[in-house]
């Protein structure tokens, strides 16, 4: 049986969804259209005139070594964040799953970072790792590591990766824990009787059964790392030193608002938009099929 609501008035249902549609149109469709349009023009610095240039902005981008480097940085950043955040949360979820009784308190603690605004998460790590007053950099110098992410680009990238991953761990944890708890206990027991030790059980039974969760989280984490980390980077490294942490979203802002090159910035946005659409598409395709075993 299907539960359906039947409206007497034909107008009411449309009125009810109108606010959501209005928001979507004003804040998503319209800016997207604007970005798409601007990406085909070159505008003068004062915004007085603009000139149709077709795909020039795009061609220019892919000739620009800075942009290509930013692509590479984004890839390293995205993959590292996703991998780190997922590995840590999977470890925590496995541990939590073993002590289900104490898990409520433990779970609540683990969820806190998710409630922290991205910029604040960045600032927390910025203070922890600050070369002159951060506690972590102090410890690091204790073991002989010279920490200065203002100068060292690799260290700066590492810092934003850790900060971004940290914030995402709790989200992943919830999904992994739910995934683990949905694996029937008897399946693990059957494997134990089949002479598989705990490690082998994990890799041959538990991990394969978690594939749907893992894949879903992979997409979510990549999307997060690519598109949701602007505030975090802005608050910590501001893309520097020398573009070392300037991922694609950050570059859009830099080109547009600092460099005032609206055409190029718009073209970059459009490329990013394409990426999001592609990833969402992959995810939906996958979610439709749900499980693959």
């Amino acid at each position: 049986m299907q539960k359906r609501v039947v409206f007497r008035s034909r107008l009411l249902p449309y009125l009810l969804v109108l606010p959501q549609i209005a928001i979507t149109v004003i804040f998503f469709f319209w800016p997207s259209y604007q970005a798409l349009e601007s990406s085909f023009f070159i505008e003068d610095a004062f915004g007085f005139s603009r000139e149709w240039v077709g795909l020039t902005n795009y061609f220019e981008l892919f000739k620009d070594p800075g942009y290509l480097k930013s692509f590479r940085t984004s890839l390293i950043f995205g993959i590292s964040v996703a991998f780190l955040a997922m590995a840590i949360s999977l470890g925590l979820a496995v541990a939590a799953n073993r002590v289900v009784k104490a898990a409520t308190g433990y779970r609540t603690l683990l969820i806190w970072p998710y409630a922290v605004a991205p910029a604040l998460a960045g600032v927390i790590w910025y203070f922890l790792m600050n070369p002159s007053l951060g506690i972590v950099s102090y410890w690091l110098s204790g073991v002989g590591v010279e920490w200065n992410h203002y100068v060292n680009g690799d260290q700066a990238l590492f810092l934003v990766i850790v900060a971004a991953a940290w914030k995402q761990v709790s989200y992943n944890f919830l999904f992994f824990l739910a995934g683990l708890q949905s694996i029937p206990k008897s399946m693990i027991e059957a494997a134990a009787i089949d002479r598989a030790g705990p490690v082998r059980r994990f890799w041959t039974i538990v991990f394969p059964l978690l594939t749907p969760t893992t894949f879903f989280l992979l997409v979510v984490n990549l999307v997060y790392a690519f598109f949701d980390t602007f505030a975090l980077i802005h608050a910590t490294t501001e893309g520097g030193p020398v573009d070392a942490t300037s991922i694609l979203v950050f570059r859009v802002y830099n080109t547009g608002f600092i460099g005032q090159d609206y055409g190029s910035s718009a073209a970059q946005s459009v490329i990013l938009m394409g990426l999001v659409i592609a990833m969402t598409f992959v995810q939906f395709r996958y979610v439709e099929r749900k499980v693959q075993y």
Partner: protein, 359 residues
């Protein structure tokens, strides 16, 4: 092939629930043992302690004379079939059967040979490359058994393996299981709450109640000489008729509410005035000629089973329910009084207080 020795076995779960206490039994090589009892009586707990999935909190378990309390499940040389089958959903039927053998590190040729043999026995050859979700319940059950057989373990453990199947399939698989046991000659320990399954499969039955063993014996022992009132009530369908009462002055009658209810052909081996429970199975009661009855059945309703007719009613029209099983198709109007007789050897007497057998 193995013997098991279970002595003073007990289980207290964390939190203080005593699920099982003081179980003692020796199991012979190649025996088919069925653990039976009502839900929550501790059957699965015992099986899981034997498997090593639950720690043994009291007593000792020996397999082939060696203490195994501390061994991991994988090191006990046992195989288990779960109620929900617990097949690995991401592996094919072949993969499911191979898994344990690969973990043991057997050579490829040996693995292939064992799988070929087991799948032939269980008629699974055509399904080896399917995933569990592409199989019917009965086929899944066979795969679960195949996974156990290929391991060639000392002891097979089954936890209600047929309870998710429909009645017809259950009967069919029961016969297959019995044949499998005879062919393998291995020790089987089988948990069920279905007394018919227990009676038809077991060499010996362990019947449990509230964490304790009530009786251990062959199906016929349990049927003919139940050691306690609980066993008498649990084994047999329809259930045994039981009446509580005091033994009359002549020690040949049962008195209830001040009136004689049942008359016996010989003296009972208990003293006059004692409170007892008398039991007699529905199939052991016969229709007697008028005036020859030892008790009367007031007919309530009939259950026509084809081969038999079960007549349900009450004892002498009182509040004790009584049923008899008659051969063939019989009819009888509600309210009719039927005089009944029974042989003395079919009478079971139990203590009214603690339920132990008195005769």
């Amino acid at each position: 092939m193995a013997t098991l020795n279970i002595s003073s076995l007990g289980k207290v779960y964390p939190g203080g629930v005593t699920a099982v206490s003081d179980v003692n039994v020796g199991i012979d090589d190649g025996e088919f043992i069925v653990l039976v009892g009502p839900s929550g009586c501790g059957k699965s707990t015992i099986l899981r302690m034997i498997a090593g999935l639950e720690t043994i909190t009291e007593g000792e378990l020996q397999i082939d004379g060696r203490r195994v309390n501390e061994l991991e499940p994988g090191d006990r040389d046992i195989a288990m079939v779960f109620q929900n089958y617990a097949l690995y959903p991401h592996m094919s039927v072949r993969g499911n059967m191979e898994y344990g053998l690969k973990n043991e590190g057997l050579p490829k040729a040996e693995i292939a040979k064992r799988i070929a043999e087991a799948s032939r026995t269980l008629r699974l050859e055509d399904y080896l490359d399917r995933k569990p979700r592409q199989l019917s319940g009965g086929q899944r059950q066979r795969v679960a058994m195949g996974r156990a057989i290929v391991r060639d373990p000392k002891v097979f453990l089954f936890d209600e393996p047929l309870s998710n199947l429909d009645a017809k399939l259950r009967t069919q698989l029961r016969a297959e299981l019995k044949a499998l046991h005879q062919r393998l000659g291995a020790t089987f320990i089988y948990v069920t709450h279905d007394q018919v399954e227990a009676m038809s499969l077991a060499d010996r039955i362990i019947i449990m109640n509230a964490g304790r063993v009530e009786q251990i014996g062959t199906p016929m022992d349990l049927y003919l000489r139940p050691a306690t009132r609980f066993v008498a009530d649990f084994i047999g369908s329809p259930a045994m008729n039981m009446f509580e009462g005091t033994v009359g002055e002549d020690r040949q009658s049962l008195v209830y509410h001040g009136a004689e209810q049942v008359h016996f052909a010989a003296e009972l081996p208990v003293s006059a005035g004692q409170s007892v429970i008398m039991g007699v199975r529905p199939e052991h009661l016969q229709h007697a000629a008028e005036g020859q009855g030892q008790m009367d059945l007031t007919v309530g309703f009939l259950e026509q089973l084809g081969a038999d007719t079960v007549v349900h009613g009450t004892l002498n029209g009182g509040d004790n329910v009584l049923s008899i099983r008659l051969h063939g198709v019989q009819t009888s109007a509600p309210g009719t009084r039927l005089p009944l007789t029974f042989a003395m050897e079919n009478v079971h007497l139990f203590d009214a207080q603690n339920g132990t057998r008195l005769n």
